[in-house]
Symmetry: C2
Subunit: 237 residues, 2 copies
């Protein structure tokens, strides 16, 4: 269940393929959006709260982008203030929601102050159909004292494999997420989430991933997932 | 991967069994805790941000608690400021974490302002080894516009099945979480998370759950999980 943010990244990616401005620009993605307030801040660019290691990994991947084999995916925050023109069939369900509360809608992964929650940047390799997400989790993602909450890890996995499904299949929804937590991840770690599109069968997309330490010596988590392309005629009410 | 909060609930539950003050009191749980700052606010008691429906469900379950068949589980926030004496074997891994950041540690499910994130209350039936969690998700848990993020749902599932494992087996860690997302859940909905301990095999605890609408007419999500009792001699470093 991914947000407009991902759809925007898909738009940006399409823009790149069409020779539009590079992913750092919010320009091409705007085509997908018409009905919400949007923050222009691209959260996948370095911020003061990023650690030295996070910045170093960002620079390394940006270097890989120079020959076009990797693409830096942008990441914007949205504030949903009204019905989405992109998801017209969801209108009925949305009408069940308290309008005032809906106006406060914030993307889950962007609803923390800088550095306290989810800081991440994703890079996509189109030839290999895979994404690497560099994730720096903040102190407000704690579960067992000193470690990330399993739900926070599940959230970043969902965001990463979901993005991989979106850039491969368009607008999708998470149908299954199967996560093996092998080792707890120390709070405030930086980890790599390596996602891979395994196969597409009709409307189904199968994506797997793992979560590793930056030096790749520790395998923290493995996961498989199933995404289904949305049938825009179907109502979820 | 559950936090001190759950361990505290277990302590409170044990206190009840030993004839200690009722679960509303933070007293009995204190036995488990020695090394962190604790907020005394019990988040599982009604708050102004709870909707009328949430309050109604709370009252209905509190009535079920009167004959002792159900127990209202308390829920506290913790702020981890130093090493945990309850998890001594995690010390080495914790030392890898930036001390300043660790001091900002907040339980993931309690790191939102009232009403914007996770509002929930859990009730435990000891005879049936099951928990019902009444969950009111706030607008900052959004994924696809107008709906909860899959990661937010995974987080509440992890918290609920994890609590079920803890009250049945002591200190545990999530080993596997397998979630089928059947229908998207409208943002700001109140839902019931019904968790059930299925079996215990040695150190393994198997817990399943589903997420339903309050009227039980809509099945949103189903999940299975595996928890492993912690070997306190094992290091995660």
């Amino acid at each position: 269940m991914l947000g407009r943010c991902a759809a925007r990244a898909l738009g940006a990616l399409r823009g790149l393929r069409e020779g539009a401005p590079p992913a750092r620009s919010p320009g091409p993605s705007r085509r997908l959006l018409s009905s919400e307030k949007v923050s222009d801040e691209n959260h996948s660019l370095p911020k003061p709260c990023w650690s030295k290691d996070m910045r170093l990994l960002f620079d390394q991947f940006m270097k890989k982008c120079e020959d076009g084999s990797w693409i830096h995916l942008p990441s914007y925050e949205y504030i949903a203030t009204q019905r989405s023109q992109d998801f017209p069939t969801f209108i009925h369900a949305s009408e069940l929601i308290n309008k005032e509360k809906l106006s406060q809608g914030r993307l889950f992964t962007k609803s923390f102050e800088d550095g306290l929650g989810f800081e991440y940047v994703m890079f996509y390799n189109d030839a290999e159909k895979r994404i690497v997400c560099v994730f720096q989790g903040g102190p407000h993602l704690q579960g067992m004292p000193g470690f990330f909450h399993g739900g926070a890890i599940a959230t970043m996995i969902d965001a990463t494999v979901g993005m991989n499904a979106i850039v491969s299949g368009g607008i999708v929804m998470t149908a299954n997420l199967n996560i093996d937590f092998k080792r707890p991840i120390p709070l405030c770690s930086i980890v790599l989430i390596n996602s891979q599109l395994d196969k597409i069968e009709g409307r189904k997309l199968f994506v797997s991933c793992n979560v590793q330490s930056v030096d790749k010596k520790i395998l923290y988590t493995e996961a498989t997932s199933l995404f289904v392309k949305l049938d825009l005629e179907k109502k979820f009410d």
